[in-house]
C-alpha cells in the first residue's frame, strides 16, 4: 500500500490583511489562520493518488499547538492520519532547523513512499524546505510534474525541467513539489467535518526525538534576525495636472523617455 505524506503549514490569511498605518506592520489580531494556499494543491494530489493506488495518506505539519486546526481541516478533506510536530524547543526554527526536525520525523516513521509539498509558504516564501528535505532524506525531489504513473516501486512522470519537457523514471520513495493550479483542490464535505473531530492527531515533540541538542530551534538556527525596519518607498509621487489631453501627452513623453516606441505589427488599424 502506497504511503503518502503531505507537508502543510498554517499561515495567516493574506487576502484580508490590514496594515497598521502608523507602524507599517501587519495587524495580527483578528487575522484568521488558514492552510497555506499552495499546500492545497499538494493535498489534492495526495488524495487523488490515494484513491487511484489504494494508499494511505498522512498530513503533517510543524507549528504551534493551534496548527492542529489546519490538520483537522485536512482530515475533513479525507486525509487518513495527521501528525503535529510541536514543541517550544522548535520555535524560531529557520529553514535548516525545520528540515532537521522533519528528517527526524521521517527517520522515525521509516516507511514512506511519496512526500508531497506545495511550492512555497505565503508568509515566509523561501521555498527552501523541499530541496533541503531531498538532501536530508537522500531521495529525489521532482518538481513541475504534469503526468505521473506508479508501477510497483517505479515512478514514471513527465515534468518540465529548465527548457526541456522530460519523461523520467525513478524509484520510490520520492519527494514531489506541486506547482500552483496543478489541480482543483476539493472542498470539505459535511461528513468529513464530523469524522475530522473524531480522529486522533499524533503529536511529536522534543521528547519523541530523544531531545538531541541540535534540534533546539532557537539556539541552533544558523540565521538570526537582528533588526526589523519599516520599508519607506522612495517614489517621486509627482502629480500630472492638466486636461485629459495634456495628461495623455505627458504620459506619451514618459513612455518615450523609457524607450517605448511604436513597433510595426504588420497590421494597419483603420478607425
Amino acid at each position: 500500500m502506497l504511503k503518502i505524506f503531505v507537508l502543510i503549514k498554517q499561515v495567516p490569511e493574506l487576502h484580508n490583511l490590514e496594515i497598521d498605518r502608523r507602524t507599517g506592520t501587519l495587524i495580527r489580531e483578528g487575522v484568521e489562520n488558514i492552510i497555506n494556499p499552495d499546500d492545497l494543491y499538494a493535498l489534492e494530489l495526495g488524495l487523488s493518488l490515494k484513491e487511484q493506488y489504494e494508499g494511505e495518506i498522512t498530513a503533517m505539519t510543524m507549528g504551534p499547538p493551534q496548527a492542529e486546526f489546519a490538520l483537522r481541516e485536512c482530515l475533513a478533506m479525507g486525509v487518513d492520519h495527521a501528525i503535529l510536530i510541536s514543541d517550544p524547543m522548535f520555535a524560531y526554527s529557520d529553514t535548516l532547523q525545520t528540515t532537521l526536525v522533519l528528517k527526524e520525523a521521517f527517520d522515525k516513521i521509516k516507511e514512506y513512499d511519496i512526500i508531497i509539498t506545495g511550492s512555497q509558504t505565503s508568509d515566509s516564501s523561501t521555498g527552501q524546505v523541499p530541496y533541503q528535505l531531498s538532501e536530508a532524506l537522500n531521495i529525489p525531489l521532482i518538481t513541475d510534474i504534469f503526468t505521473m504513473e506508479i508501477k510497483g516501486n517505479d515512478f514514471f512522470c513527465h515534468r518540465n525541467f529548465g527548457h526541456e519537457s522530460q519523461h523520467i523514471q525513478t524509484q520510490l520513495p520520492i519527494l514531489v513539489r506541486t506547482q500552483r493550479h496543478f489541480n482543483e483542490p476539493r472542498h470539505i464535505s459535511l461528513k468529513g467535518i464530523k469524522s475530522a473531530f473524531e480522529k486522533e492527531i499524533k503529536v511529536y515533540n522534543f521528547n519523541t526525538f530523544n531531545c538531541p541538542n541540535y534540534l533546539d530551534g532557537c539556539n541552533q538556527s544558523p540565521t538570526r534576525v537582528v533588526k526589523t525596519e519599516k520599508i519607506i518607498l522612495k517614489r517621486k509621487n509627482e502629480v500630472i495636472d492638466g486636461t485629459t489631453k495634456e495628461k495623455i501627452e505627458r504620459l506619451i513623453n514618459i513612455m518615450q523617455e523609457h524607450g517605448i516606441e511604436r513597433i510595426w505589427t504588420g497590421v494597419r488599424q483603420d478607425e
Binding site: 493574506l14 487576502h15 490583511l17 507599517g24 506592520t25 501587519l26 529557520d94 529553514t95 535548516l96 505565503s122 516564501s125 523561501t126 521555498g127 527552501q128 530541496y131 533541503q132 538532501e135 536530508a136 529525489p140 525531489l141 518540465n160 525541467f161 529548465g162 527548457h163 526541456e164 519537457s165 519523461h167 523520467i168 523514471q169 525513478t170 544558523p222 540565521t223 538570526r224 537582528v226 526589523t228 525596519e229 519599516k230 520599508i231 518607498l233 517614489r235 517621486k236 509621487n237 509627482e238 502629480v239 500630472i240 485629459t244 495623455i248 504620459l251 514618459i254 513612455m255 523609457h258 524607450g259 517605448i260 511604436r262 513597433i263 510595426w264 505589427t265 494597419r268 488599424q269 478607425e271
Partner: protein, 337 residues
C-alpha cells in the same frame, strides 16, 4: 564544526543561462561582490560549471574577479541537482569560502538550498541589500530581506556557520565592469559517476509551453484592474501592448471577472515584475498587488480616486479615468506614421 576563521573569499555561482550566455544576474552579483571582497581584503571567485566553459571566461573576467574556478563537461550542459550540488560541495569543503552568493533563479535557488543543508549553514533568499558590519561580529554579512508582504525589511545574519549564503533577485544590483590585470584561472577535472543518479531520463524534448516573453522579463508592463470596468476596455491593454512591445498583467479582480488568464497576475500569488516602466490602469493598489511591482524602475498610476493607495507607490500620478487615458494612448499608437 570547523573554525570559521579558516573560511575566506567571496564566491559567486556564475550561472550559465540555457547554455548560451552568462546569466545577467550573476554579473550583477559579481559587481556588488567586488565591493564586499575589497572591503574585507579577500578574493572574489567566480564558480562556473558548464559545457565548453572556456567560452564564457572572457566575459566573466570583465567583472572584477580575482579568480575563476571552472569545470567543463557535457554532463554540465544543464543544471543537474545532484551533479552540481556534489561537485560544488566538494569545492566548498576544499577551499572554505566565507561568503557564497547565488542568482535567485530556478537553478540558483535549488542549488543554494541543497548546499546550505550539506554545509549546515544559513541561507537568506531574495535579499535586497548586502553590507558588512562589525556590529554583531567581525566583518559579518548583513542581508536585508523583505517580510510581511514587503512592508518591513528584516536584517539577517549568519554568525556561527560558514559560508554565509544568499540568493539575489535579478535587477537588485547594477552591473559594473572592472578590469583586472591578472585573473587566476583554475580548471577542475570533472569527476562524477553518473551511474549513481537516481533519476533516469527516458526522453527530453524541448518544451513548447514556455512563453517566449514573460512578465518577469518584460521591460514595459501594462497593468489593469477593476477600474477598467469591462472586458472590452481591459482588452485595449493587449492592443496597446502589441503596438508598444509591452506585456499585460493585472490584479486578482480581472481574473475573477474573466478578463484575463490567471498566469498574468502580478503580486503576492502571481508574478513579480522588474520592468523599466510600469503603467497601472484603474488599480487601487492593495498590498497584495503592490509587492509585485515595487521592483519596477518607474511606476505610473492612473486612477479616478485621488486617495487610491497606488499613488503612494507611484513616480507619476494621474488622477483621471483610466479608460479615457488608455483610449487616448491607443489613438496615438494606433496611427502609423
Amino acid at each position: 564544526m570547523s573554525d570559521i576563521s579558516e573560511y575566506k573569499d567571496v564566491w559567486i555561482f556564475t550561472e550559465i543561462k540555457d547554455h548560451v550566455e552568462v546569466h545577467q544576474c550573476a554579473l550583477e552579483i559579481l559587481s556588488k561582490a567586488r565591493e564586499i571582497a575589497d572591503k574585507i581584503g579577500q578574493k572574489l571567485v567566480a564558480i562556473v560549471l558548464a559545457l565548453e566553459t572556456e567560452q564564457y571566461l572572457p566575459i566573466i573576467k570583465d567583472y572584477g574577479v580575482d579568480k575563476i574556478i571552472y569545470i567543463s563537461h557535457n554532463d554540465l550542459k544543464h543544471y543537474h541537482e545532484r551533479i552540481f550540488t556534489s561537485l560544488i560541495y566538494d569545492l566548498i569543503v576544499q577551499h572554505k569560502p566565507s561568503i557564497f552568493l547565488f542568482p535567485s533563479t530556478e537553478a540558483g535557488n535549488a542549488l543554494a538550498a541543497r548546499l546550505a543543508y550539506r554545509c549546515r549553514t544559513g541561507l537568506v533568499s531574495d535579499v535586497l541589500n548586502l553590507e558588512l558590519s562589525d556590529e554583531y561580529g567581525n566583518n559579518l554579512l548583513i542581508s536585508d530581506k523583505p517580510a510581511y508582504l514587503g512592508n518591513v525589511l528584516v536584517k539577517i545574519i549568519c554568525p556561527a556557520t560558514r559560508p554565509q549564503m544568499c540568493t539575489i533577485t535579478m535587477g537588485t544590483f547594477q552591473k559594473k565592469k572592472v578590469k583586472k590585470i591578472d585573473v587566476e584561472i583554475e580548471k577542475i577535472e570533472y569527476n562524477y559517476d553518473i551511474n549513481t543518479l537516481k533519476i533516469k531520463i527516458l526522453g527530453a524534448p524541448t518544451r513548447k509551453d514556455k512563453p517566449s516573453s514573460t512578465l518577469s522579463d518584460a521591460k514595459f508592463v501594462l497593468g489593469g484592474g477593476h477600474g477598467l470596468n469591462s472586458k472590452t476596455n481591459f482588452h485595449k491593454l493587449f492592443e496597446l501592448a502589441k503596438y508598444t512591445n509591452g506585456q499585460v498583467g493585472g490584479t486578482r479582480r480581472p481574473i475573477m471577472n474573466g478578463w484575463m488568464p490567471e498566469h498574468l497576475q502580478i503580486g503576492i500569488s502571481g508574478e513579480t515584475i522588474f520592468s523599466d516602466l510600469y503603467l497601472s490602469f484603474g488599480i487601487s493598489g492593495a498590498i497584495q498587488h503592490v509587492v509585485g511591482i515595487t521592483d519596477s524602475k518607474t511606476i505610473v498610476a492612473i486612477n479616478k480616486d485621488p486617495n487610491a493607495p497606488i499613488f503612494k507607490t507611484a513616480d507619476y500620478c494621474i488622477i483621471g479615468d483610466a479608460k479615457e487615458i488608455l483610449e487616448g494612448l491607443l489613438n496615438h499608437y494606433r496611427v502609423s506614421d
